[in-house]
Amino acid sequence: MRNIIYVALLLLLLDCAADSSAISATAEWPSPKHDLSYIPFDVSTDDPAFTICDSTRIRSGRNRLRYHEGTNAFKEAVMAGFTTEPAFADFNGYVVVRFLVNCEGISGRYRAEALQLDFSPAKVDPALLAQALELIKSLNNWTKATDSAPETEYFKFVNLKIENGDIQHILL
């Protein structure tokens, strides 16, 4: 009997037509219909208090989030905050940091990935990824471009082009 109730509940949760707003808005319910922009919770790195209201409707697009002091200030802060290390010197490629800004305007679920110049995955010193991730994470005051729907959630990425271990370009 308990199994039947469990399966019925599971089916109810996984029903594509179900209205997610009927479920408590403060919890993040897994949806099989989430958009490519969604970054799933990783228990080893993510803050459990950071939740996404609707993983099926996360907006992406370059100009939808603005750093509160402007793009130039953001770039200057990244340049000022980054310190190259001898172990990075051989690396030429990209470090892409991506994250989400949720319905409350808070950013979270930061991920960093290293790529070669042809965009294939690269192996780099883990300290480079860690530093890039922490740096972008520390610059977390993002303003949503729209006032009409402040609850809209966004995906954002910052692409750091690295030349000989140092930042050559900040693309966002």
Binding site: D35, R98, L117, N159
Partner: protein, 281 residues
């Protein structure tokens, strides 16, 4: 003729470029009926067309592309369309893995797309490699950026200039302009600007001035032209003329009289701060 001029100045060429860009996409997409009934390609084609009716990047569209690729692994358009939302989200590794497959199947149709992302991510050497192959091996003619703003040969030229081979960039733009000398309707909105910019970068000031002045006959609203004309006159030793152009650039950047700028040129983009710095001089 007067009507034609109105269309010309009001962005008729933009519309033309947009449609040419669309045709470029259609060439890869094809018509599902050309594939034998019940073949993998036919089903993949139909599934992919269903997928593009869903929001780009949605789970539904990705599942449909996956099904298309599984059933018709030689249908290139599915890989291309599936790659687009990955590139747009900075998920470049997955994006390039997919577009590489499309290029393997149909290089002439998809090389431009990988080159486009290499260009805007400042991977200029790889952009050059792909576009050289597109034009030299596959004999492509009129290929545009995905939104149709620029001819890919302009990107190739700018990429060459960024790697220090400015003369080679100039050669490509001149070659492109020669190819439509008999068909002026194909002329692009920013061709003279790009050529003028490269002449300036190469220190060929008189040629730069001539091209940039030509660009003004195409558009008087585009701010960057005034900025480069200012730089040219600064170098020619005409500071008063230079300042006048910089002031016009500032006005255009601020949107006066329909003025505007664009960010199609990657490291050659101009910003209001650049012009203000030049004015301080």
């Amino acid at each position: 003729m007067a009507i034609f001029n109105i269309y010309y100045s009001s962005g008729f060429y933009f519309i033309l470029l947009f449609f040419l860009g669309t045709i470029n996409g259609l060439a890869g997409q094809g018509n599902c009926l050309i594939y034998p009934e019940d073949s993998g390609e036919r089903i993949a084609c139909e599934l992919s067309h269903r997928a593009v009716t869903c929001p780009q990047g949605s789970r539904e569209s990705q599942v449909l592309f996956d099904a298309a690729i599984r059933i018709g692994p030689n249908y290139a358009w599915a890989y291309y369309e599936k790659s687009v939302p990955f590139f747009k989200r900075g998920l470049l590794a997955e994006g390039v893995r997919l577009i590489n497959k499309a290029i393997e199947l149909e290089p002439r149709n998809y090389l431009y797309y990988r080159a486009y992302w290499y260009f805007y991510n400042r991977s200029y050497a790889l952009c050059i490699r792909d576009l050289e192959e597109l034009y030299s091996v596959h004999n492509a003619s009129y290929v545009f950026t995905p939104s149709g703003e620029l001819e890919m040969r302009l990107l190739l030229a700018l990429a060459y200039a960024q790697t220090g081979a400015i003369a080679k960039g100039i050669e490509w733009i001149r070659h492109m302009m020669d190819s439509y000398r008999e068909q002026p309707a194909l002329k692009g909105y920013y061709d003279h600007f790009c050529l003028g910019l490269l002449y300036y970068e190469n220190g060929q000031l008189a040629l730069a001035q001539a091209e940039l002045e030509q660009q003004l006959t195409v558009s008087e609203q585009f701010a960057d032209t005034y900025y480069y004309l200012g730089l040219v006159h600064q170098q020619l030793g005409n500071p008063d003329v230079a300042i006048a152009y910089f002031r016009q650039a500032v006005a255009a950047f601020k949107g006066e009289d329909g003025g505007y700028s664009v960010n199609f040129f990657a490291d050659f983009n101009t910003y209001l701060e650049d012009v203000e710095r030049a004015l301080l001089g």
